[in-house]
């Protein structure tokens, strides 16, 4: 993998920076959490 060359992101991520990846995963996780609370209930 590390030999792969990508014009965007890094060899380990499709995101341009760690911060972007963090925010992306934060948004995705919160969407999942909201979905669980709304659709599964307690």
């Amino acid at each position: 993998m590390s030999e792969q060359k990508f014009a965007r992101g890094t060899s380990l991520s499709i995101f341009v920076s760690d911060r972007r990846e963090d925010i992306g995963s934060l948004v995705f996780a919160l969407l999942i959490a909201i979905g669980i609370v709304l659709f599964v209930g307690q």
């Binding site: 990508f6 014009a7 380990l12 963090d22 925010i23 995963s25 934060l26 995705f28």
Partner: protein
């Protein structure tokens, strides 16, 4: 640069998934599923037996009354639900993959955002397909093999070596990258692995609640706190001294300090750990834990340790939950006292994870900057892994009871109000308890109870329980036909374990305790989601572990892990021998 590779791979993956969905829905793979889903299938057989009996009775009744045979539908068993879930997942993801696969075959991509984002899907579908194979195939196969070999080996190798989807996912990834290489069409999508892992770590926060800490004994919290934080401090110090690298050191610290494999996985993205470093940490933890699992019971017997002492030692010194349970059962195969104490210490250790994650994130950022004199606040703001805040947020929400009653642990919680009418104690059961209560109030019974309390030192709240507490607890149970508080449940369960406690009364007390615990569907859903996210993420992570990367990481982590593990095991043994007998 154009990223999308013209390849039928995504279409083929989609078709394979759709085919698996259809095979499950049509019942064509029921034989295989019966083997893979053994416990769900045994539930299915019970549901079917009950249904057949009810149908036969209803048919006989209808025949006697000259009415047509009734139409009844068998209720869904766990086996049916598991198959339906596999079908649904396969249809949804298979459908999307097949459609996008067709698009890729006919589309002429041009450089740009659309090409970039479309090119991610084949890799994601590739990891998902492998995740299906690992979670629905390899994981249950190893679980079955582990159980089958248990009578011969005397221990469950699949559980002890943690051969579940976490380890299997990484191993499969390693095999793929080293034996077959990652195909070009999947290369871009495989880079989403860390994103999925981070999302999983955030959701992990929902599984724990700080209120659970209040339920645990003060000594276990204090002792574990000292050892968890102490061993992390030692690893961080040793790692710096031995130039192991900040990310390697931090992952190892989390793994050795908290709860082994899952803590290492949770800490990895926080400190930007390389895949090979995670593999080394997991390897170190598992190998070390297996050694301890065999050594601890022998040392425990040689030193004449009691069940509480041994449980406390194993729960503190051994890193992996399955290995803690294995050591506790090896020490005391017939009683569950040791296992229970070990589990309490184990749970306390896991509950330190949020603190550890925050500590490591800060430590890592600070040390990555190096010796330069910089404003730490500014560096933290710029470099702090923001997703950790999500983990802390979900942990706080879980503690506040946003998802399920606050005092839960991994979704299991106590609630007297939610006990259904048909689960209340029956008259026969309350009578058995009444008779036992009367016996315990007589001189001989009262003395036996007094001795039991003196020997076991049962804690309720922040004090030791007395026989009067037991009398009141049993009387309240008879009156309410259910346990009303968690303290009462803990107390009565301990009382029912005393020698000579009448068997039917014991069963009734245990039943009353069991029905007061409920599983949260919300937390169950969080657990399912994070298991899938971890599964996909870890497979992708495994695909980054080449032999060259493993060689580069070297053997230092094994040495540090071994040294810290030994110090922790010996240190906790001394503390347990000095203090635990009196206080727990």
């Amino acid at each position: 640069m154009v990223y999308t590779k013209k390849s039928p791979a995504l279409l083929i993956i989609g078709v394979v998934m759709l085919l698996w969905g259809w095979l499950n829905a049509s019942g064509n793979v029921d034989g295989m599923q019966q083997y893979l889903q053994k416990s769900a299938y045994s539930d299915h057989k019970q549901v079917k037996e009950k249904f057949d009996a009810a149908l036969s009775a209803a048919t006989d009744k209808a025949a006697a009354e000259n009415k047509p045979a009734p139409e009844m539908k068998m209720p869904h068993s766990k086996f049916d639900s598991a198959k339906a879930f596999q079908s649904k997942m396969s249809y949804i993801f298979g459908g999307v993959a097949a459609l996008l696969g067709l698009l890729i075959m006919v589309w002429k991509p041009k450089e740009g955002n659309l090409d970039y984002y479309i090119s991610i899907f084949p890799g994601m579908a590739y990891m998902l397909l492998i995740a299906f194979i690992v979670r629905w195939g390899l994981d249950p196969i190893f679980a079955n093999w582990g159980k089958a070999a248990q009578p011969t080996l005397g221990w469950n190798f699949a559980s002890i070596f943690n051969l579940n989807y976490v380890v299997l996912g990484i191993v499969i990834g390693i095999v793929i990258v080293n034996v077959f290489k990652i195909p070009d069409w999947a290369a871009n999508g495989v880079r989403t692995a860390r994103f999925f892992l981070k999302t999983g770590v955030i959701l992990l926060g929902a599984l724990y609640s700080a209120t659970e800490l209040a339920q645990l004994g003060a000594i276990s919290v204090l002792m574990i706190g000292v050892f968890v934080l102490g061993s992390i401090g030692v690893v961080l110090y040793l790692g710096r001294r031995m130039n192991t690298g900040n990310s390697m050191t931090a992952v190892l610290a989390s793994g050795v300090g908290v709860c082994g494999v899952s803590a290492a996985v949770a800490a990895a993205p926080v400190v930007n750990a390389k895949a090979a470093e995670i593999a080394y940490t997991i390897g170190t933890i598992l190998v070390w834990g297996v050694g301890c699992m065999f050594l601890f019971p022998t040392v425990g017997h040689l030193l004449g340790m009691g069940p509480v002492q041994f449980g406390a030692w194993a729960g503190t010194g051994i890193l992996n939950s399955a290995q803690v349970a294995g050591a506790a059962l090896a020490f005391d195969p017939h009683g569950i006292e040791t296992l229970k104490v070990a589990e309490i210490f184990n749970i306390t250790r896991v509950l330190f994870l949020p603190i550890v994650v925050l500590w490591l994130a800060t430590w890592y950022v600070k040390h990555e900057v190096g010796a330069e004199k910089v404003d730490l606040g500014k560096v933290l703001f710029a470099k702090f892994p923001v997703f950790v805040l999500g983990f802390i947020l979900l942990f706080l929400l879980s503690t506040l009871g946003a998802f399920t009653p606050a005092g839960h642990y991994q979704g299991k919680y106590f609630s007297s109000e939610q006990i259904k009418e048909d689960k209340l104690l029956k008259d026969k059961e309350t009578k058995a308890i009444e008779t036992e209560l009367a016996r315990l109030k007589e001189p001989a019974g009262a003395k036996a109870l007094q001795d039991h309390f003196a020997e076991k030192a049962i804690n309720i709240g922040q004090r030791h329980a007395t026989p009067e507490d037991a009398y009141k607890g049993l009387a309240d149970l008879i009156a309410a036909k259910k346990v009303t508080t968690r303290e009462q449940e803990v107390l009565l369960k301990a009382v029912a374990k005393m020698k000579g406690f009448e068997a039917n009364a014991k069963k009734a007390v245990e039943h009353a305790g069991k029905v007061a615990y409920h599983s949260s569907k919300t937390i169950g859903a969080f657990r399912d989601w994070l298991a899938w996210l971890f599964s996909i993420g870890l497979i992708g992570l495994g695909m980054q572990i080449t032999m060259a990367a493993l060689k580069q990481a070297g053997g230092t982590p094994l040495i540090i892990g071994g040294v810290v593990g030994t110090v922790k095991a010996v240190g906790s043994l001394i503390v347990v021998l000095l203090f635990i007998k009196e206080f727990v």
